[in-house]
Subunit: 278 residues, 2 copies
């Protein structure tokens, strides 16, 4: 029946991210793909460490249960062992293999065969790089919100902004994801009378990066912390942001607006702008 | 010449992760694929925000330069606009498209067409979820290393361990990646005489998770902070870890060994063990 109407689509789809390791990769790419289908509702579930046929049997049962409940399942997998994938496929749901096809492309491009080890990427891997990230998180906590100026000369990045613009999460992301040493420093009323950058960070102007946002957004975020305070008032937020942006321009500190950018995007902008290659 | 020897492979390959957004997805999956080729050396470079043919021209020149220097380039791309990909392909290097093929598979599975918007996943996206992550980072900083017991009843997870076992990075990862409220609490000598968990965290035993490591690793990490101290001595580390593991077993707190697991792996284990579904 070539002209039969398309079958009714289920209102909600069960999505399983199944991995033989942490599931971070499956979740990240799977979600990046699903975002292209804003009209469909997805009920997501990440299942890590599925690396034996027995473990896969449990997952298969969950998939089949979702299918029975009418949320036609969709699988994203990063599983290297074919005996595991076979068990999953027995559930009869669509499975998108995020690794397999690309591994074959890569073997061809590199002229070598992929090794047989399983799910290594989010393992401890390169111990030096791993230690660097751990040290970076410590450094970020020690230097959060201008708490310490010790070893500020070691900072790869110094983020400056008025309170509640998003300095801390961006700092943590850069530290944890890339092992960068990142300090952040608040711009308070006391910092604005001067012509230049706050004295503590002025020597590191070339590594400074500013954050701004919209007065409305800042006011909302500040109201969460101190409801109905002068600190959270729209007037105060407008003033502080205007002064901060003037300061960034005057001192040629690049800056980004956190109201339209995620932490990941701001981090990418900062590294690109300061020419940091992770 | 079917029996000619295989051409010599370049010793080092230039790898470009090219994205129309932050590059996080391209980097994550690309690296997960490359880890299967431990015998090849890769010089990696992430280039975010390549979303116009003009931007792609700059990247194409960099790729061609790498090719001339003998490091045969390999591209991983998450770029939706075909006019951008076309420019990249003109460099003549192998390009592995991490999105394209899967999008077609998905369109088929869902019976709808992918929307035309570009690189949204690491955007602000779901504002509520985004705020939740931001609040979680704040909570993590406030509750780092037992600094505060305020609102500890709100914690999704309470990580306990002796000093320097990896509590803080794991806490930050769970907060930033999953928006979970995570407190962490140090096990010091004072905490061991009692029979149960430290008083501050005992009411939340069901949400506690322990970390251990090897005495040697702990001693190395502590020596970095306080060289040649009793605190860093192998004897002290052995003692503290033995006591901690005894405590975990006695109080039935699940625990994980950070010497063999990355932050991502520990986070996945913790969520799975406490049945937290992000």
């Amino acid at each position: 029946m070539p002209n039969a109407p398309a079958p009714a689509l289920p209102a909600r789809r069960a999505v399983f991210f199944v991995s033989d390791s942490t599931g971070v990769t499956a979740e990240t790419l799977g979600s990046a793909l699903l975002v292209n289908f804003p009209g469909v509702e997805f009920a997501r579930r990440t299942i890590p460490f599925v690396d034996t046929p027995e473990g896969a049997e449990n997952v298969r049962r969950e998939i089949e249960q979702a299918a029975r409940s009418g949320e036609e399942p969709l699988l994203f997998t990063t599983v290297k062992d074919p005996t595991v994938s076979e068990v999953l496929d027995r559930a009869g749901s669509t499975r998108i293999d995020l690794l397999g096809g690309h591994l074959i492309e890569l073997e061809r491009a590199l002229g070598v065969t992929a090794s047989e080890q399983q799910g290594q990427y989010h393992g401890v891997g390169d111990v030096e790089r791993y230690f660097a990230r751990m040290r970076a998180v410590e450094y970020a906590i020690e230097h959060d919100d201008g708490q310490s100026t010790r070893a500020l000369d070691l900072a790869d990045v110094v983020i400056i902004a008025p309170s509640r613009c998003g300095k801390t999460p961006t700092t943590m992301y850069l530290a944890l994801q890339y092992g960068l040493l990142v300090a952040n420093y608040p711009l308070t009323d006391d910092d604005f009378p001067t012509d230049g950058l706050p004295r503590a960070v002025a020597p590191y102007a070339a590594r400074c990066f500013g954050i701004t946002t919209t007065p409305l957004r800042l006011s909302q975020v500040r109201h969460e912390r101190r409801p109905n305070s002068r600190y959270a008032s729209l007037a105060q937020c407008t003033l502080e942001l205007r002064r901060a942006e003037e300061l960034y321009r005057r001192t040629r500190v690049p800056f980004v607006n956190s109201s339209t950018k995620s932490v990941e995007e701001m981090s990418a902008v900062i590294m690109q702008s300061l020419r940091i290659r992770p």
